[in-house]
Symmetry: C2
Subunit: 233 residues, 2 copies
């Protein structure tokens, strides 16, 4: 599909799994969680129970590590029929603390791509999740200098984007969003009349996955890595 980017003046980047690795650490945490509870249930049941618990708590806790840890604690109590050891509960809390403290690992070519694009476009970061976590990661990433603005959103629905673009006085026709999640970074933008490019990450959280019918007929390009951006815009 051929899409023109001539009008674009501002480019928004998702952060988690677009600029740096994130989902991998959640998958690792889930592996550790399943190993801690393997005496009580099959791995499949443990995985499913934790996912269900996260979705049940999502409206209350929102996205981010702290809500994930609280869901792990609750799921551990449930899966073990209240027999989980206190040592295991300590280890679950520690999994969360390690995730929060984890160094930032940038994805390939991020610095080069941002450096090039920042000469021609206004770049902004649009991420969702925990405010403190995201600010901390951006600081650790050393990428702040390339961005005019950083916005942490509680969610990434059409209304969140529309409200933010209005606030930043960005014309929707001049805005291009780059991100790994079709659900959060691509479809809402296409639906409000902006452009978006999909850069898949090898792992996508089940909750972020979309059905074929949601993407049918939507005009966006998919690239295999950020470096391809330099040829497109």
């Amino acid at each position: 599909m051929e899409v023109k980017y001539d009008e674009i003046k501002v480019i928004g980047f998702d952060a988690d799994d677009t600029l740096w690795i994130n989902e991998t650490y959640f998958r690792d945490a889930e592996e550790k969680f399943a190993a801690l509870l393997e005496g009580y249930e099959t791995k499949n049941t443990i995985d499913q129970d934790l996912f269900k618990m996260e979705i049940k708590n999502l409206e209350l806790y929102g996205y981010g590590i702290k809500g994930f840890v609280l869901s792990m604690v609750e799921s551990a109590l449930e899966l073990s029929n209240n027999n989980v050891s206190h040592d295991t509960l300590h280890k679950i809390l520690d999994i969360g603390k390690e995730m929060i403290s984890h160094p930032v690992e940038l994805l390939p070519d991020v610095v080069e791509v941002l450096k090039q694009l920042s000469k021609k476009y206004r770049l902004i970061v649009l991420t969702k999740g925990d405010l403190l976590d995201q600010e901390r990661k951006l600081e650790r990433s050393d990428l702040s200098e390339y961005f005019h603005h950083v916005e942490v959103l509680s969610d990434k629905k059409e209304s969140n984007y529309q409200h933010l673009l209005d606030h930043l006085e960005i014309d929707v026709k001049e805005f291009l969003m780059i991100g790994n999640s079709l659900k959060s970074d691509v479809l809402p933008l296409i639906n409000i009349g902006a452009k978006a490019i999909h850069v898949p990450f090898h792992t996508t959280w089940q909750h972020e996955q979309v059905e074929d019918h949601e993407t049918n007929g939507k005009e966006y390009q998919t690239i295999s890595g950020l470096k391809e951006l330099l040829k497109l815009v």
Copy 2:
């Protein structure tokens, strides 16, 4: 002390314990936590251990209910020497969920004061804590219509304020902040050359308390309720 507010064009309001009740729910939660663990330690020791745990975890978890709940879980394991019942752990998780779901209770005269001031000034909300929680509270409060901008900060230090005022293109001399915390809402503003008015709430979290020497010589007024603002500005 006489302070002039002639130059003020923008007024910032803290939210928790300035526009609506917040600290009271944390105190109530601490009471419930102490009651749950009363078999293991004295109330005084329980209170102190939880506070120490919160401060120890503050850099990792930041402000907000989810970090508080994680600290309660960790403190319960510690205080009980790993003997706390799973029923108690469930109840601790429930305390957090109740806090997150709690209806917003506005402080006296908030609507009238905001309505009056919004005719003459640009009003903004500057709050710290969890992004989702604060957005949710603002929505439930029905106060959004009075504010030009809402900013949730991960912390309220001088640099956070300076950065935000720069971003919003607000001259520091034209900015007045209103809030219940000397440490977070008053002193950092005075220190960067803005004005601030202190509206104490009856309860202040220990971590927000300041020493006399920090306030000595700082020019700010203290009022007993928001309604007094209408006479001052």
